[in-house]
Subunit: 381 residues, 2 copies
């Protein structure tokens, strides 16, 4: 049966951090006949705990009731916005310590319930509604895991409420998953993932296959198991890259300068017949949240030699923007004049043509001092 009112926010916060304020809003979708008293709404966290399941338990630290009001910016329906709500964990319930459940914290799904009563022509009517599933975290380091849960849930079910979803999470086809991943990038950056990039991700996750689209990817493979030989999962690796783009690479990502998701094999295939100085930008597969460039080096033997720089991470990119690194990078080889080995962005666009608009002069005039900056260099011996 259709709810007569709807929470219009949680959809949004979806991930709530304990001790950090969040906001939620409920709107009454039906017009009530004039009521002569104020309609008070109460918010309850996890009103319907899944029976038998061990869950962390939380409560709303701040005030939980508020009176509905006519919404100005709309067609005069009633709504209420709770601000400055804050969650805290109940460590003990009836003096007994709460145990951890069988799921990891970012797989626990919670919810906010809203309730109100009103009386119309002598009949008491109870209203109740409930938010979409919420993940509760205690530290931003858990955002990656929480976001994975939200994605998986939204991708694979239309149920508004299924707190047990992660007790046995369904698999996703690569067709579904790749679409969602691309959508993540286009939402948070402005550019999604193209066919080649998705293909590399598919191979990384599922190995070489004739066609990936019908392959099924398990929840565990996606974000719980580590990539073989690496201390992080596939999604963790990908989300750190997304964060790196958001904070340090946005314009050049959106401008399509970053091939990014390229296997070592494809990289070699792309570059091996290119002229020296051709380079491409690739996200590191060994380091979390790192980007590197690989270029073709002039070689005496005639065979193409590919060289990659140590990946730049967020801490290094906050010292110098990536476009400037590309512009100024120098390799110092014994006895030779330092030279910038980056000349043509793959397949063959002169570097400055691709990056000029992203160079950052940042020459702070600080009279009487002379300004200074960093030049990124590598030494070849």
């Amino acid at each position: 049966e259709k709810q007569p009112w709807m929470p219009t926010h949680p959809q949004k916060p979806l991930i709530i951090k304990t001790g950090v304020q969040f906001t939620t809003k409920v709107r009454l979708l039906v017009k009530l006949p004039e009521v002569d008293y104020q309609l008070k709404v109460k918010t309850i966290f996890d009103k319907h705990l899944p029976p038998g399941r061990v869950h962390r338990q939380f409560f709303i630290l701040t005030s939980t009731t508020k009176v509905m009001d006519v919404e100005e910016s709309s067609n005069g329906c009633l709504s209420v916005e709770f601000r400055h709500l804050q969650l805290k964990e109940k460590k003990y319930v009836n003096g007994i310590k709460v145990n951890e459940g069988p799921l990891s914290v970012t797989e626990e799904l919670h919810s906010l319930s809203f309730e109100a009563q009103f009386n119309i022509q002598g009949i008491n009517i109870d209203l109740e509604t409930c938010s979409f599933p919420l993940v509760v975290i205690s530290n931003v380091s858990q955002l990656t895991g929480g976001w994975a849960s939200i994605m998986w849930y939204n991708m694979l079910t239309d149920e508004p409420r299924n707190p047990d979803f992660f007790a046995s999470p369904p698999r996703a086809s690569w067709g579904q998953l790749s679409e969602v991943l691309s959508w993540q990038f286009s939402t948070f950056t402005g550019r999604g993932l193209n066919r080649e990039q998705l293909c590399m991700l598919g191979e990384k996750l599922m190995g070489q296959q004739a066609s990936h689209n019908e392959c099924q990817v398990s929840w565990s493979k996606f974000c719980k198991e580590n990539i073989p030989g690496k201390p992080f999962s596939f999604w963790m690796w990908l989300d750190f890259i997304l964060e790196l783009i958001k904070k340090h690479l946005l314009p050049i990502w959106n401008d399509n300068c970053i091939m990014g998701f390229v296997s070592k094999e494809t990289e070699r295939a792309c570059l091996k017949d290119k002229e020296p100085g051709t380079f491409l930008l690739r996200f590191s597969e060994s380091h979390l949240g790192g980007i590197t460039f690989t270029w073709v080096k002039q070689s005496d033997s005639g065979e193409a030699k590919l060289i990659s720089v140590e990946p730049y991470t967020k801490s290094r990119l906050s010292a110098l923007p990536f476009a400037n690194i590309i512009r100024d990078y120098k390799v110092i080889a014994d006895g030779e004049v330092p030279e910038n080995p980056l000349k043509f962005l793959y397949p063959g666009i002169p570097k400055d043509e691709s990056f000029r608009r992203h160079y950052n002069s940042q020459q702070s005039k600080v009279f009487p001092y002379i300004s200074s900056t960093w030049i990124p260099i590598s030494t070849l011996q």
Copy 2:
């Protein structure tokens, strides 16, 4: 009259930040005859508020009573340590909003009181003692101001408690003050301030004088008024330098490589007859927490030309340690080969002799990538 017990901690925390845990310890200095019950101590914040003075008011958020215990590590006397104490401001007292006092928050002096009662042979005895003055802040950005108060108080009074001290703070002679400042540096770094450095500070604070030692410095001049033409006070400037040393310059400061406090005039006098490549390290007077180097440039006209680089601040020094900057710094002049202009540390010590032990190789081997680093450069046109 002598207190029969003493708080042994606050002396230490001296500055307490609201919402951040602190620890305090009280020790009973007299041996009590055996008592057959436990001696309970209660902690009270600002028990004796200065009458008539408007003060911010705080309370201890956490538990405030604890039982004294025989101290293991000592001669068996009673002591109690309060841990995880936390302060919170009372914004309203009896429903009335507390106004701000006439002093700035870091000039308000507070105190922790401790009280206990015991009964000996039918006589009730009350014990009470009180900490040294405390400054309460709400953000680390106020540490500089708080520390100034502590220094001024300790320098100019021996009273264990005088909450009104900053209602009319006494002046300090430069003799006293300079000693205290030098002591700050030696306590927090390992090297104090020498005569030349103190002389520069004296001139900065009081202008040119035959002898500074008898000059009186007002509290306001020290840390409330801005330096003419600058948006910060003398002490704020100095404390930012102290922080810079603590975090980024400790070994080279302790190794006496940093002249540091040098006026532009003295700098010119020192360097003007030195050979090209002679340089010295100086803290910026225009930027908070910055260090620069000034060197003698080879000049066609024969006259010495002094050049200073834009000051390095903590954010830039966390990208590259200062010793490496000195080692690798290059100036690029039109059409010339980039050159490191820093050759002899004033008065004439070959650079590597002074700095070699502080160079940091930090070559992270990251096969199959080639490692990279920053080279600090300036461009002269």
